[in-house]
């Protein structure tokens, strides 16, 4: 059994990036213990840039799918030999401790397979679905969708028994070689704005006409600006549709990077921009992690207090409904050029404007231009959940 610890994060890009604070907090709390990370194969190149992670283990979900699909519903003991070999290739000895960040059976089972002790959403083994105090809290908050002020990144810290980092961690990306035609991004004069055109789930994607109007408004503004469209290969058709809808005059100010970068390259590209704008998506969180100011449009199921961009000085427009009828286009474009006027912004019906802050309890978002009517209960929540966790540890 190794003395190293393993963090298990098997969800998507946004969740992986939002695990940076817990990595920082654990590294601070246990400075002499090496920390490894288990993440899905496609995210491993980015995880390789996390300086606090000693070793990245790649979870090959596609291979597990292939085993499971080999025979429709059937079972053959010989498959277990292949599974054994795959696990043996992943680790040579069990971890002493694994921190599981996802409340998904796969992540919990992975923890049980790779480590002798697991700390995560469940109090007991993989079949004991009794939730830990922090997992219970997150479930209740998800149901009530009310006054939660504990950010997901900070809740990850709570799950792992550590306090949030005192300052938001910044992801340092190596200067990756970008494709030749993207090499100038961020180096020419003017304001560079990256636009995250897509989203993992269709209902979280900002409609194409909205982007066309928003980019047109930005580029027709007096100040010189350039726009970089970012996203995965899957977002390329959206990017083309946006370009089709724009006036040909803006062509020299628009750069399409969708589907053309690796994740480390994307991080480097976002780092070069002055602003990154988009919905609650992985690239938006990646931008916040590399230290680029972010402006998010949160709607559908996205809630600023739970998954807002982590760090200081980010802006979020929060819709009061899943599918907004109007969008704060002019106000948000103006904000990019004149952030000092934020307090005078008129967000428009159905929207509120928030700014991110950070203190000893982690991330906090406060409304702009009005008093925060909601009491900040984070300290009380941390105290209550910490006491419950300690009491359970005593029992166990």
């Amino acid at each position: 059994m190794t003395s190293r610890a393993l963090i298990i994060q098997l969800a998507r890009l946004g969740d992986l990036v939002q695990s940076l604070p817990v990595l920082a907090a654990l590294a601070t709390r246990y400075p002499s213990r090496p920390l490894d990370l288990l993440c899905p194969v496609p995210l491993a190149p980015l995880a390789g840039c996390f300086s606090l992670v000693d070793k990245v283990l790649e979870w090959n979900g596609a291979q597990w799918h292939a085993w499971a699909d080999s025979f429709t519903g059937g079972f053959e003991p010989s498959w277990l030999h292949e599974v054994e070999q795959s696990l043996a290739a992943l680790i040579t000895e069990s971890y002493g401790k694994a921190y599981v960040l996802n409340q998904h059976p796969r992540a919990i089972l992975a923890g049980a397979l790779l480590a002798t002790e697991v700390q995560g959403p469940y109090l007991g083994g993989p079949l004991d679905e009794t939730l830990s105090p922090w997992a219970s809290y997150l479930r209740d908050v998800a149901r009530a969708r009310g006054s939660n002020r504990i950010h997901l990144s900070d809740a990850f810290c709570g799950l792992c028994g550590v306090l949030p980092p005192t300052t938001p961690p910044v992801l340092t990306v190596p200067s990756n070689d970008l494709p030749a035609d993207l090499a100038d991004v961020g180096t020419l004069t003017g304001q560079w704005v990256a636009v995250v055109v897509g989203a993992g789930d269709a209902d979280r994607a900002i409609p194409i006409p909205v982007w066309i109007e928003w980019i047109s408004a930005l580029l027709s503004h007096n100040r010189p600006s350039s726009v970089v469209l970012v996203g995965s290969e899957r977002d390329q058709s959206t990017a083309l549709a946006i370009q089709d809808g724009l006036s040909p005059i803006v062509a020299g100010c628009l750069w399409d990077a969708t589907g053309r970068t690796t994740l480390p390259q994307l991080a480097a590209l976002l780092k070069r921009c002055h602003w990154v704008v988009g919905a609650d998506t992985g690239p938006l969180h990646l931008a916040a992690a590399v230290g680029t100011p972010v402006m998010g449009f949160y709607f559908s199921r996205a809630r600023i207090h739970e998954t807002g961009p982590y760090g200081r000085g980010h802006w979020v427009w929060q819709a009061d409904r899943a599918l907004p009828a109007t969008w704060p286009i002019q106000a948000s474009v103006k904000l990019l050029g004149e952030p000092a006027t934020a307090a005078q912004q008129e967000p428009g019906a159905g929207w509120s404007l928030w700014q991110s802050h950070h203190d000893e309890w982690g991330a906090i978002f406060r409304p702009v231009g009005e008093r925060d009517s909601q009491k900040d209960s984070r300290a009380a929540v941390w105290q209550r959940l910490s006491e419950q966790s300690l009491s359970l540890q005593g029992v166990r």
């Binding site: 499971a68 025979f71 429709t72 519903g73 079972f75 089972l109 993989p126 079949l127």
Partner: protein
């Protein structure tokens, strides 16, 4: 020493009886001729069996294209000069079992005379002799069996190979103890609808878990579309409707994924859906219980199904293959003896349903033209069935004003009639000029123990003898033949009884489904074949898990030994131990596999 002596002397060490037989048989079946590269090649009946340029390269290319799974016995059909057998052995692991079928010793003698065999031939089992002996030798080599055919050489012994294949399929069917999960997709309406029911019942009686995706519940809505006056609208909407039913089928399959999907003719499955099913690793089969000349939609679907079963032989089978079908088998119609059986009639029923001559069926053009000559004869004639509108000359014999006749009434008519006419439908005049397949009515009448007089069919002789079913080759013979048979009541009864025995012995839907599964099992030895052999039963799985995975073996032994166990059931067994149980590493791996399995297949 010449090539023949070299090869036979070596063979005699392992198989002295075959060596003796080869010395006695002599050769001469193949014409040995040098290929361009100088090594021997061969011709038979004027056609090259191996390449005229480079037989070894050609054999290697063939061997590369053959599938193989560990543990399978590879049975090679086609002898030639054995280049392909040597190439196959070179590609397979040394532990693989290879059997070469030898229906004709003279070809092997030619192969022995042409060149010296390489060492790999020492490990090839040569199965020779009568069909039974060859089959026994193959089976004794071990399961599962995978047949591979070197077509240029196999063509010389097509009948012998077919006999061996049939015998092997029978063995597979007889030994089948495993339970398959089968989804049967039926039509919205039509003649294949009752057949779907018979198929479902037959599969269930064979012990399989069958789910009937019954689209007849949509018939009323579908028929409403037929009322649309605009042909454009009607066809477009019917097409959309079929597509929607196809999607419904996909959703149903996704909820309970079967081992394979059996569709009956007219099942609403469109090609894109079938292709999607293939991508998702579903095996599909179609039993096309239609005349392929009349209903031609098979042309659009041929490539979509993994297996086609048809009621006609050539040229139907070749046409399907040319349209893209990969595997096509002949599977004739049948009867369900629980539905089609003799019935005791009361005097009143005999009065109502009885006649000297009867016909039950729809008013196709050929029948409309033939039946008037049966009127005003010395014997009585009753005509039953629908779609006789406009046949004014037949009104005097048409029963129930041409109402549709249900199965129960059919049985009574069959049993109450001295001579049941069974004229296959045909849109022209006279008898069907392409008279090949045998219709379901033939089997149903026979199963009812009823005497029948049919139009002559080319495929009849393999199914019934002239002593079981009477037939005639021209409508002109009909009145005379009827008179003759009416005068011979004892012979009629004897023939009807023989025909019924024949159906019970070999022509029920149970027989057909058993053959169908055996054919699919042979073609898919690692999937359907393994399930049929019982390899997925708890006892077999536990034995396989013993040693390496004791915890899994122990979990498997909590099931009934013959119960088929799937991954989700094993995972459920592990979960049932309760939340406080300590899980082994094997348990965790099984649970993880099941987590990935449980994702709903992205079918819809």
């Amino acid at each position: 020493m010449n090539f023949f002596e070299t090869n036979i002397s070596r063979l005699a060490q392992s198989n002295p009886m075959l060596a003796v037989a080869l010395r006695q048989s002599g050769g001469g079946r193949l014409e040995i001729a040098p290929a361009r590269n100088g090594i021997p090649s061969a011709r038979a009946n004027g056609r090259w069996i191996h390449s005229a340029y480079d037989p070894i390269k050609e054999a290697q290319a063939w061997a590369e294209g053959q599938d193989h799974q560990n543990g399978e016995t590879i049975v090679v059909l086609g002898i030639g000069l054995l280049y392909h057998v040597e190439a196959l052995c070179a590609r397979l692991p040394r532990t693989a079992t290879v059997v070469l079928v030898i229906p004709d010793l003279s070809v092997l003698a030619d192969a022995a005379s042409a060149r010296v065999w390489d060492d790999s031939m020492d490990r090839v089992i040569l199965a020779w002799g009568a069909t039974e002996a060859i089959t026994e030798r193959i089976v004794s080599a071990g399961h599962p069996i995978r047949l591979v055919t070197y077509a240029p050489a196999a063509a010389l012994h097509a009948d012998g190979h077919r006999a061996v294949e049939t015998a092997l399929q029978r063995r597979v069917a007889a030994e089948a103890g495993g339970q398959l999960n089968i989804a049967v997709v039926g039509p919205i309406y039509g003649g294949s609808l009752p057949i779907t029911g018979f198929v479902v019942r037959a599969l269930e009686s064979l012990g399989h878990r069958v789910r009937w995706l019954d689209h007849s519940v949509h018939a009323t809505s579908y028929h409403q579309l037929e009322l649309l006056k605009s042909p454009q609208h009607r066809l477009a909407l019917q097409s959309k409707y079929a597509e929607m039913l196809s999607r419904i089928t996909m959703a149903q399959l996704a909820e309970d994924p079967p081992d394979f999907v059996l569709a009956l003719a007219q099942a609403p499955l469109i090609l894109p859906m079938l292709e999607h099913l293939r991508r998702k690793r579903f095996l599909t089969a179609m039993w096309f219980v239609e005349n392929y000349r009349h209903l031609t939609y098979w042309q659009q679907l041929a490539a979509g199904y993994d297996f086609w079963f048809v009621i006609q032989q050539e040229p139907c089978m070749t046409a399907l293959k040319q349209a893209g079908a990969k595997i096509v088998h002949y599977l004739p119609m049948a009867a369900d003896p629980s539905v089609h059986c003799p019935v005791e009639l009361t005097k009143d029923e005999q009065e109502e349903y009885g006649s000297d001559v009867s016909f039950v069926g729809a008013g196709y053009a050929n029948r409309r033209g033939i039946f008037p000559r049966l009127l005003n004869q010395e014997w009585s004639f009753k005509l039953w069935g629908n779609e006789w509108d406009g046949a004014s000359d037949l009104i005097s014999v048409l029963q129930r004003n041409g109402a549709r006749i249900d199965t129960e009434t059919c049985r009574k008519v069959f049993n109450a009639s001295a001579v049941n006419l069974n004229l296959h439908s045909w849109a022209g005049a006279g008898f069907d000029p392409d008279a090949d397949f045998v219709n379901p009515r033939t089997f149903e009448l026979a199963a009812c123990g009823a005497f029948q007089l049919t139009d002559r069919r080319s495929l009849m002789q393999d199914l019934f003898t002239a002593g079981e079913v009477a037939s005639l080759s021209s409508p002109d013979e009909l009145p005379g033949e009827i008179s003759r048979w009416i005068r011979e009541p004892e012979r009629r009864v004897a023939m009807a009884e023989s025909a019924r025995r024949r159906v019970l012995a070999g022509h029920t839907y149970v027989h057909r489904m058993s053959d169908l599964l055996a054919k699919i099992g042979m073609a898919s030895p690692d999937r359907i074949g393994s399930i049929l052999r019982g390899a997925r039963q708890a006892q077999a799985l536990a034995t396989a898990a013993d040693g390496s995975f004791p915890a899994v073996a122990s979990a498997l032994r909590t099931f009934r030994p013959t119960q088929r166990v799937e991954l989700n059931q094993l995972a459920a067994q592990i979960r049932s131990r309760g939340p406080l149980t300590t899980l082994s590493r094997e348990d965790l791996m099984v649970l993880m596999l099941d987590e990935y399995r449980s994702e709903t297949k992205d079918l819809v």
